[in-house]
């Protein structure tokens, strides 16, 4: 018998601090698998954000720069311009990317920086205790919206994958989920595609990764996993919103 499923080489063999059932762990593995597949582990520089994914450097067996909150796309821009041979990605939460880091993500995308962004949307500020984020669903109770998000007062959740797909510099933008095997297999495919676009120098590639946060949603892992499908996918549809291969064939 031969081993047909194992930990990717680009992922360290360590216990993570993630809560049980948190999809951050799954996305870490999918990103590491894509790195293995493209054979870029040795020349990859990851840019970590601030949030529950802050320990990127403890879990990936690659070089990692830790960026200030929200600034990962700006730091990644510098890294990629100084080292165009490097494979550069950021890994950011929704509080990080869609709130404090809105300016950085929009302009890095608009400039068409040749980097890949993995955007983990769990509809909340996970690390700091579940505050409302720009992605929090209408009606969702959080520690700063105890009566539920109110669209009239707080605005409606931002759909980042669609928003960024409007920008000329963006080569690829997709939204994925890992709440069931079918979605997970598609997520693998889209993450690989985002990596391939960077490898081919096509420009900015963006993956919005719908994720659970059982702890701050006040749910057990199975209920939180189910919520990704029943509540999140309705407002945040899965799919590819921009693929330059479809615009300029060849």
């Amino acid at each position: 018998m031969k081993q047909v499923f194992q930990k990717p080489v680009s992922l360290k063999d360590v216990q993570t601090h993630f809560c049980p059932g948190c999809h951050h762990g799954t996305y870490h593995r999918l990103v590491a698998e894509a790195m293995d597949e493209f054979g870029v582990q040795g020349r990859t520089i990851g840019v970590a954000s601030v949030g529950c994914s802050v320990f990127l450097y403890s879990y990936f067996d690659i070089d990692v720069v830790e960026a200030p909150h929200g600034r990962a796309p700006a730091v990644a821009t510098g890294v990629k311009r100084a080292r165009p041979d490097a494979f550069v990605f950021t890994y950011q939460g929704d509080g990080d990317l869609a709130a404090i880091g809105t300016a950085e993500i929009i302009h890095a995308a608009n400039r068409g920086e040749d980097i890949t962004v993995i955007f983990v949307n769990n509809t909340t500020y996970g690390m700091t205790g579940g505050q409302m984020a720009p992605t929090t669903l209408v009606g969702q109770r959080t520690s700063t919206s105890p009566f539920g998000r109110n669209a009239a007062k707080d605005g409606s959740p931002i759909r980042m994958a669609e928003l960024l797909s409007q920008l000329e510099g963006v080569a690829f933008s997709a939204r994925v989920a890992v709440n069931n095997p079918r979605n997970l297999m598609d997520a693998k495919k889209q993450i690989r595609k985002a990596f391939r676009y960077q490898a081919e120098g096509k420009g900015f590639s963006f993956i919005e990764a719908l994720s659970s946060c059982p702890t701050n949603w006040g749910m057990d892992p199975l209920a939180a996993n189910a919520r990704v499908g029943t509540e999140m996918c309705g407002y945040f549809p899965l799919g590819v919103f921009k693929d330059t291969a479809n615009f300029h064939a060849g």
């Binding site: 018998m1 031969k2 081993q3 047909v4 499923f5 194992q6 930990k7 992922l11 216990q15 993570t16 993630f18 809560c19 049980p20 059932g21 948190c22 999809h23 951050h24 762990g25 799954t26 593995r29 890992v178 069931n180 095997p181 997970l184 297999m185 059982p214 892992p221 199975l222 996993n225």
Partner: protein
């Protein structure tokens, strides 16, 4: 012939692997591991197809699959 191995010490007891297996071969056990979680348990080993969907779903990369 296929086989899975659950690393009991890495398992956080989330149960996502139990959802993934269409044959329902994985159940939650009754022992608590050193992290304090009830870990997942493989039942009828003979029936495993080695599809690896349980391993794919595991956020903690606690399952290895052999085929």
């Amino acid at each position: 012939m296929a086989r899975i191995e659950i690393d009991e010490s890495r398992c956080k007891g989330c149960g996502l692997c139990t959802l993934a297996c269409s044959r329902k071969l994985i159940v939650m056990g009754s022992t608590i591991n050193r992290q304090g979680y009830v870990s997942a348990l493989m039942t009828s080993r003979e029936q495993c197809t080695g599809c690896a969907l349980c391993a794919e779903m595991c956020p903690d990369v606690a399952i290895a699959v052999y085929k």
